[in-house]
Symmetry: C2
Subunit: 277 residues, 2 copies
């Protein structure tokens, strides 16, 4: 099957670049297929990008749902509606296919993770962010992202992360957190996993920087980076941003948790709501 | 009298920091007075900051009108209304004071320059930017600013500036440009002034970076800068941004043009419209 992620947020926050960076740093052969299409009813304007990524020894098939135009209008009332409709539509489509004779599901675009890109203002969350994240969080695994994190100095980023966390907590927005208590045994591999999960949780929301370019880092190595007159911002440098943490979470360490959570928690919640009327 | 400028744009674009940077790099003694007040009717929520700046040998008294909350809502229909009302109110107040016996004007907060801060998305202008700039441009000297320009690499900035200029031209938004044809004589001082004006026009919209902090630039000099893990962004470095160009334009070279243009063009336009009904 495929791993399906949605990138959501205002235009100009580097969502497309992030997706390309993810593929570029992971894609080993095939060119990603980029298509704009609405597989079901045309209520939703989304771009769906399919790609095959090499993660260590296996091929990961990935769908990325891009959401152009979100939050760009003067009046953004219900700007979240197309995103929410898309997510619900996929659960709906899966449900219908399951209900067919022989229960043969041919088409599964259920969203396993929603990356919500937050403007790096340095202040706090805007009303549209809160409203949108609330509605996304009840339907899919929500992972808030600080976009264009190279806009923030280290102390600004620290403050901004803690402010966002405060609002998320106060507004009771559920975000995806690496499960800390799966089959904890008393051996060291589990302790390492726990420590890794704890570090990920401490870094949230992840500060993301993306780039489609590589440069010599001054020591003869080519690195994925943004080149400024005052310095080189390295995407895969943990001292510069959390790109590697997020990539690992999404495509490796918690890939199965994201899928299982979607099929078991979010899909079942949707099915119940639909069957109850 | 005072020089009055307004800073307009979404929150989190560094407007307050810019004002502090302007004062910090120019203020020689007194602490700026910061007050929130509505001198006339309470239709408008603005902050008015008064300061005395030392520009070479004279003291420049400056008012800065800050516009908190602009564009922050989910629905930003008519978000420009308070800004537009404020500007009109000042012309109105001046008109009424002029009409008093003895024509004694005690209070003049007419806005000599509006700095409109544009989000550095790298894409183009959003509808709210276009709508707001259109309405500001017919009432006051409009100077569009690219906010937080350290978000953009050199090639991105070049593209972004040219895209903004295209939209400004296509939408016929009048922006303040240094007059090129005042008393042109055939001597070299005028040629130098022409060249300076031409360079300013070529840099527009000005790419601005602000900071309330200073750091050692590695060569023993303290500079106003933003300190990132990957380098030091210097506010007063023309290779990093256009802060010095804008500061010179506003507080020195075109200060009188901005004031005269406001009193002669914008005020007279307002008076005519009011007297015609
Ligand atoms: N400062 C900064 N700019 C970025 C980053 N990622 C992308 N950009 C730039 O932001 C602009 C918009 O990026 P894009 O990916 O098209 O944003 P989208 O509209 O959200 O898909 C482009 O000029 C990118 O080069 C980043 O991490 N930091
Ligand atoms: N990247 C960047 N950040 C800035 C700049 N100027 C200010 N900031 C930061 O942006 C945040 C918001 O700045 P502020 O001046 O309060 O913005 P305002 O809401 O428009 O008044 C603060 O964390 C500032 O330190 C700048 O030029 N570049």
């Amino acid at each position: 099957g495929y791993f399906t992620m949605m990138v959501a947020g205002e235009s100009g926050l580097g969502k497309t670049t992030f997706v390309n960076t993810l593929f570029q740093t992971t894609l080993k052969h095939a060119d990603p297929q980029r298509n704009r299409f609405s597989p079901l009813k045309k209520t939703v304007d989304v771009d769906i990008i399919r790609a095959e990524l090499e993660e260590k020894n296996f091929t990961l098939r990935v769908n990325v749902i891009d959401t152009p135009g979100f939050g760009d209008n003067v009046n953004n009332n219900k700007a979240w509606q197309p995103l929410v409709d898309f997510i619900d539509d996929q659960h709906d489509s899966y449900m219908r296919q399951e209900q067919q004779p022989y229960r043969k599901v041919k088409f599964d675009l259920r969203v396993h993770a929603v990356l919500y890109f937050i403007k790096p203002t340095g202040h706090g969350l805007k009303p549209i962010d809160i409203e949108t994240m609330k509605r996304l969080s009840t339907r899919a695994n929500l992972i808030p992202i600080i976009a264009k994190a190279d806009t923030l100095t280290a102390p600004e980023l620290k403050t901004f992360k803690s402010r966002i966390r405060q609002v998320i907590e106060a507004q009771e927005i559920r975000i995806f957190t690496p499960p800390l208590t799966n089959d904890i045994k008393e051996d060291s591999t589990e302790a390492v996993a726990m420590e890794h999960a704890r570090q990920l949780i401490e870094s949230m929301p992840f500060a993301i920087i993306g780039s489609e370019n590589t440069y010599d880092n001054g020591q003869g190595t080519n690195v994925v980076a943004r080149k400024y007159p005052w310095g080189l911002v390295e995407v895969e440098n943990d001292a510069h941003c959390d790109f590697r943490k997020l990539r690992g979470l999404l495509l490796r360490t918690y890939l199965l948790d994201l899928i299982t959570n979607t099929e078991q928690l979010h899909y079942e919640t949707y099915r119940k709501l639909r069957l109850e009327g």
